[in-house]
């Protein structure tokens, strides 16, 4: 019983019609996942197709600029450009072994959709992706990628038209198609066993990074830092470090425009306990339990909930969770591009921004940031944001004078 929960958080709050496929998945996770054949197949694919181990990069210029010894775990160098592929390949392999033929998923920024479509193409599975109509618009390049990879992208026009409602629609679709379809949940959230399953597939990030850091520096970093939307890249980076009590784990949520009220995506900082999408966790909600719309410049962080393991790590004070707003993220996006030649995803830029904003307090410390993805997908958003008068001071830094 207890393993459906991380402390007080987690569980399986879904319609009874979804319990049979969840129980089937639980069985598969227990029986297939630990088998040596599965583990070997997964490892080989991560090496041959994803390009693992991903590099760990030192940032000499930013380290000099800030006085913080900055290292990046380069999930942006993965095939398809983000950490999401680790999980989708794992779940696609599991799907094939479960004898199902369709991968269903939801996507915000589109990276999980692209990664799922890619895994489906590789393993000869059909792929259906639910995506909020607003996100379809702001991440059009990724929609085209998914379609070229053979996926069917279904725009979701209900509710907030972003990730939250894409998950609602995907869950509805799964009720009807469960016999032949596996729901390849894209982040370490949702009903048990997804938070556990996704974390297991993403834990490779932290395992590699921990070893790489030890090899290069002969010790562990002071801080491991990652952005938190649903929480998969962060839990992947954190997991191997949880027993290392000396290492500070810092998750960075999106504060959106920074306005008070609902215009943020920071449930760990600004939310309360509740139940959504099959899990008990921290949520942005009204006192009456209605889920609030969220906002972030980065579609991948734009979610009013968070994976239950993060709620637990926060409750037991093993990890801390900070907030970075749109402007700070945009500024870090430009700074990392300029100073190190790495254009990060806007999601990852939130984690980098936390270091830049807190550099004064972090002097001399070493920080490992999980650079969860690359920024190609965000070009349109950044260009448009820089036309906004509110960001004129950032736009002014462009044009070769920096």
């Amino acid at each position: 019983m207890q393993d459906r929960y991380f402390g007080d958080y987690g569980g399986q709050f879904v319609p009874e019609l979804l319990m049979p496929p969840l129980l089937e998945l639980e069985r598969a996770v227990k029986e297939i996942l630990p088998s040596p054949e599965f583990q070997q197949e997964f490892k080989d694919m991560l090496r041959d197709c994803v390009g693992r181990p991903s590099a760990m990069t030192h940032c000499p210029n930013l380290s000099r600029d800030t006085g913080v010894d900055l290292w990046l775990k380069r999930e942006d160098l993965n095939h398809t450009g983000a950490h999401k592929i680790n999980n989708t390949l794992g779940q696609a392999l599991l799907t094939r072994r479960m004898g199902k033929k369709t991968l269903l998923t939801e996507t915000g920024a589109g990276m999980n959709g692209v990664a799922t479509a890619t895994a489906a193409a590789m393993l000869d599975l059909d792929c259906v992706v639910y995506m909020g109509a607003k996100d379809v618009e702001r991440q059009s390049v990724n929609v085209r990628r998914m379609e070229i990879l053979g996926a069917r992208v279904v725009p979701v026009t209900s509710g907030t038209q972003t990730l939250k409602d894409a998950i609602n629609e995907a869950l509805r679709y799964w009720i009807a198609t469960q016999k032949t379809t596996h729901y390849c949940f894209g982040t370490a959230a949702g009903p048990h066993p997804f938070p556990y399953l996704v974390r297991e597939f993403q834990a490779v990030v932290g395992r590699e990074a921990r070893q790489q850091f030890l090899d290069r520096n002969g010790r562990l970093p002071h801080i491991v830092c990652a952005c938190v939307g649903g929480g998969s890249n962060a839990i992947g980076a954190f997991h191997a470090f949880i027993p290392d009590g000396s290492v500070r784990l810092v998750g960075v949520e999106a504060a959106g425009t920074g306005e008070p009220g609902c215009y943020n995506s920071a449930p760990l900082n600004l939310g309360t306990d509740g139940v959504l999408h099959g899990m008990k966790t921290r949520l942005l909600q009204t006192p009456e339990g209605q889920i609030l719309p969220s906002h972030s410049i980065s579609a991948g962080l734009d979610y009013p909930g968070v994976g239950p393991e993060h709620s637990h790590l926060q409750a037991i004070h093993r990890a801390e969770y900070a907030c970075i707003n749109d402007e700070q993220a945009l500024s870090a996006f430009l700074t990392l591009s300029r100073r190190e030649g790495i254009i990060p995803a806007l999601e990852s830029a939130h984690a980098v921004a936390w270091i830049l904003e807190n550099a004064a307090a972090l002097q001399g410390q070493s920080v490992l940031v999980n650079l969860s993805g690359r920024g190609d997908k965000d070009m349109d958003i950044v260009e448009e944001a820089l036309r906004d008068p509110a960001f004129a001071h950032l736009a002014a830094t462009l044009g070769g004078d920096a």
């Binding site: 709050f13 319609p15 319990m19 509710g159 009456e288 339990g289 209605q290």
Partner: protein, 254 residues
């Protein structure tokens, strides 16, 4: 103590009829008109009336119910309003009253407080669409002391073993979901439904209501003897959206 929901359903069955369980979201089609529709449903002979508690993320609902519920939310319908208005009308309905919704608003209202206030408002049953057996113990306990039944939902993919879990200590009635899908009207019911309903009737010793996808009174004849009650929501909502009244809607079903 036998649940008023069971009594009403058995009454209809004794009169040779399938009991009727209409569903409307609280505050639909408007906050004022809702109470009038509720009275009409009651007068027209509903055995149980299912009152929806609107939620922002109704994953078990199809487009018709979801849209109606979101409209009610936009009109500031909340649990406090629903329960206090019901309390003011306590004892005026012949039909047993059931609340249907999702867990989070109930959690935020407070489990004990909810059970107490719902009891005071004359509610005899609760359906939470996102509460499977595994998560139900504490809520069941809170409701029990106020004589409110947690109505189990089962479906075509529910194994006899799981049905037995739900049947243990269940009262009121069991809700059999007719399709692997969300609420909404469908032209035909799935083939396996006869066999599965027979299984459910063996396992539960409370009445079985069939719901999701009913759109036409003829479907009741098809199901005659297979279930004790029929739930309909989307068809009624659509009828009201098209300018009809609940009373008119109920006539051909009786």
């Amino acid at each position: 103590m036998t649940s008023p929901m069971t009594l009403r359903i058995r009454e209809a069955n004794k009169a040779g009829k399938t009991a009727l369980i209409p569903f409307l979201p609280a505050g639909f089609p408007s906050r004022d008109r809702f109470w009038d529709e509720l009275e009409q449903l009651d007068r027209a002979g509903a055995a149980v009336i299912e009152i929806g508690m609107p939620f922002s993320d109704p994953v078990a609902d199809g487009p018709v119910v979801a849209k109606a519920s979101l409209e009610c939310l936009a009109d500031n319908v909340n649990l406090e309003w629903i329960l206090s208005e019901l309390k003011a009308r306590k004892g005026t309905f012949r039909a047993a009253l059931l609340l249907m919704g999702y867990l989070n608003p109930v959690l935020q209202y407070g489990l004990e407080r909810f059970a107490h206030d719902a009891g005071q408002a004359g509610i005899s049953g609760l359906i939470l669409a996102d509460l499977p057996y595994e998560e139900s113990a504490s809520i069941k306990a809170a409701l029990k002391s106020h004589h409110i039944s947690l109505v189990p939902l089962v479906g075509l993919n529910t194994s006899p073993e799981r049905m037995a879990l739900y049947a243990d200590g269940a009262d009121g009635f069991a809700y059999f979901v007719s399709v692997l899908g969300t609420t909404g009207q469908r032209d035909t019911l799935p083939e396996q439904i006869r066999e599965k309903l027979a299984q459910a009737r063996d396992i539960f010793d409370i009445p079985i209501a069939l719901g999701f996808g009913l759109r036409h009174p003829d479907q009741l004849r098809e199901l005659d003897g297979l279930c004790h009650a029929a739930v309909f929501g989307s068809a009624l909502i659509t009828h009201i959206c098209n300018g009809g009244t609940s009373e008119e809607f109920m006539k051909p079903w009786l």
